[in-house]
């Protein structure tokens, strides 16, 4: 039989205890009802999310001539160059974040469960540290030896990526942790070790593929943060999208609305690409006779 970690004892009780009355089988009606409820809820959700976007669209079309807010933005080369720059920084941030957090979350779950509240507290700190305090703290710390990063563009980029990894800590860690809960890492690790695998192999070839959904979630969130973040990019003087947006907004009314929708759509598209790329192998590693 399978290990007991992911099977709550109540379920064993449910398997053996028959409630009075006719046992109900899942008929086609039940499935239909469930799917109908799902569709209904989905439509409500879509309505809630779409309406504000529609409102913004309507407003952006009030410009005269009607599409000028859009054409102004689409024809501005800096909109695209800063967007590209933000995406590049985003990809680097996601990679660093994964490399840093997956082993950490794995190790804490596996060997150091008592350290979990400490790690979780650290990952939730970025919520309560005002970004302006964080960026000025970073600039002050890293303007001087031993690590004067702010003096060069590359150094500032490094600092930017590290700052964004910090900002995405809560989301990435929580997503990875939720994913780790669903797999039996204890058994998997022991099985791999008994086959002679080292930690790197375990993480890269066994744990990571099982965390596909988590990592995708975390990647989406991180990308969105990097593209939308303003304060840190601003003070580190890097040509990021949100700062350029702010610069051109000034006293414009319709163009910022158009570009907000543009960036929404483009980021959504980029995430679609990430989702497709990450689709890969759908299989999950199961242990024992789970069927």
């Amino acid at each position: 039989m399978t290990g007991s970690i992911n099977r709550p004892p109540q379920m064993l009780e449910a398997l053996t205890h028959h409630p009075p009355g006719r046992p109900r089988r899942p008929g086609p009606r039940g499935l239909q009802r469930k799917t109908l409820a799902s569709w209904l809820f989905l439509l409500l959700g879509i309505a809630y999310f779409a309406l504000p976007l529609v409102g913004t669209l309507i407003f952006s079309l009030r410009a005269k001539p009607m599409l000028s807010a859009w054409t102004d933005m689409i024809n501005d080369p800096q909109v695209w160059s800063t967007l590209g720059y933000s995406f590049a920084i985003g990809v680097v941030t996601i990679t660093v974040s994964i490399v840093l957090l997956v082993p950490t979350a794995f190790w804490v779950r596996l060997r150091l469960p008592r350290l979990r509240p400490v790690v979780e507290f650290v990952t939730l700190l970025p919520f309560v540290v005002p970004p302006i305090v964080l960026v000025f703290g970073l600039i002050t710390t890293f303007s001087q030896p031993p690590l004067p990063l702010t003096g060069t563009n590359f150094g500032s980029d490094v600092l930017l990526v590290c700052a964004y990894v910090i900002l995405s800590l809560p989301y990435m860690y929580r997503a990875v942790d939720a994913g780790l809960r669903t797999i039996d890492i204890q058994t998997l690790t022991e099985a791999c070790q008994s086959l002679g695998a080292g930690w790197a192999t375990i993480l890269w070839r066994v744990i990571l593929p099982n965390l596909r959904v988590s990592i995708l979630s975390g990647a989406f969130l991180t990308l969105a943060i990097v593209v939308g973040e303003f304060t840190i990019a601003n003070f580190l003087a890097r040509p990021m999208f949100a700062t350029y947006l702010q610069q051109i907004s000034g006293n414009l009314a319709y163009q910022p609305a158009a570009v907000a929708l543009m960036s929404f759509g483009i980021t959504w598209g980029a995430m679609g690409v990430i989702a497709l790329v990450g689709r890969g192998n759908q299989g999950r590693i199961e242990i024992g006779g789970a069927h």
Binding site: S4, T104, F121, V122, M271
Partner: protein, 298 residues
């Protein structure tokens, strides 16, 4: 059942005194990174909160936290964060369940997941404006409701410039965040359990009560903590929508730290430290609850 791996990896949990240094090595990179890029910059926050504007040591900033305005700001912030965390948590969970395990086609799931990614960070001035254009006094939905359906929401007392309005706007990024974070957990709900429970004659309610919810509870709570923190730390959206009319801690902090009007930065630091303390308490409460919930899994 516990095997002892080769000496290259960390020793098993059954070894003796040499375990401690090696085991902690696994989390060293994380803590070094966090120290360099989070703790050290934040230390200015801690130090500054104990200073007055002349640079001398004082606890006056912390004493000032109990003034009615700041105390009220904390309770309002906590209230709004709790409401949106719970509501966003429940609704987000339902939406995630609907698209992952609710019988809907796969492209819809991908669409909602990716959309949630973008929407979770759609905040600040663009979000506030989007809602103003939609359900503000001159928003298109308000206007349609009035002209087509004869329903005057603003006449009935609703206004977007209220706590309720702020909560509605906050849900726009809280809900998608929940969807994304709970997705792996829902994905991990093996459908064999559902089939087995139905074969055993359990009703849907019993399935949820005895199997699905206990399994999901730690993830649900962890996600709601995240939502709480997310709302608690939100500043740009609140400021853009309320302009300081709703008393929130993050807005007070912004005023002290970066206003155009001479403020007291040290008070701002103390306010932020207050937020850190509240997050710490929240995590302790969550850890305790999570440990209780996880007992059912062992």
């Amino acid at each position: 059942m516990v095997t002892t791996p080769d000496a290259r990896g960390a020793p098993s949990a059954r070894r003796g005194h040499r375990r401690v240094p090696w085991t902690f090595l696994g989390v060293v990179p994380f803590f070094v990174f966090a120290t360099m890029f989070l703790v050290i910059p934040t230390s200015y926050l801690v130090v500054g909160s104990f200073r007055d504007q002349a640079g001398n040591f004082t606890v006056q900033n912390y004493l000032d936290l109990s003034r009615p305005l700041t105390a009220n700001a904390y309770t309002t912030s906590i209230e709004i964060s709790l409401v949106t965390a719970i509501l966003g948590g429940i609704l987000g969970f339902l939406l995630a369940y609907a698209v992952i395990a609710g019988g809907l086609p796969m492209p819809i799931r991908t669409g909602i997941m990716t959309f949630s990614g973008v929407a979770s960070n759609f905040a600040g001035v663009p979000l506030a404006l989007a809602f103003i254009f939609t359900i503000g006094r001159t928003g298109f939905v308000t206007v349609i409701l009035k002209t087509v359906l004869g329903v005057d929401v603003y006449g009935a007392g609703f206004t977007i410039y209220s706590k309720l309005g702020l909560e509605i706007v906050y849900l726009y990024f809280q809900l998608p965040l929940m969807v994304l974070i709970i997705a792996p957990a829902i994905d991990g709900l093996k459908k064999e359990w559902r089939e087995a429970s139905e074969n055993a004659g359990a009703s849907t309610f019993q399935y949820w009560r005895f199997i699905a919810l206990p399994v999901l509870m730690p993830s649900l709570m962890g996600s709601m903590i995240l939502l709480f923190g997310n709302a608690f730390g939100a500043q740009a959206t609140a400021f853009a929508l309320t302009g300081g009319f709703i008393n929130l801690v993050t807005i007070l902090i912004g005023g002290q730290l970066s206003g155009d009007v001479l403020g007291n930065q040290n008070l701002g630091y103390a306010l932020a430290m207050g937020m850190v303390a509240i997050m710490a308490v929240t995590i302790l409460a969550y850890s305790w609850l999570a440990r209780r919930a996880e007992r059912w899994q062992r």
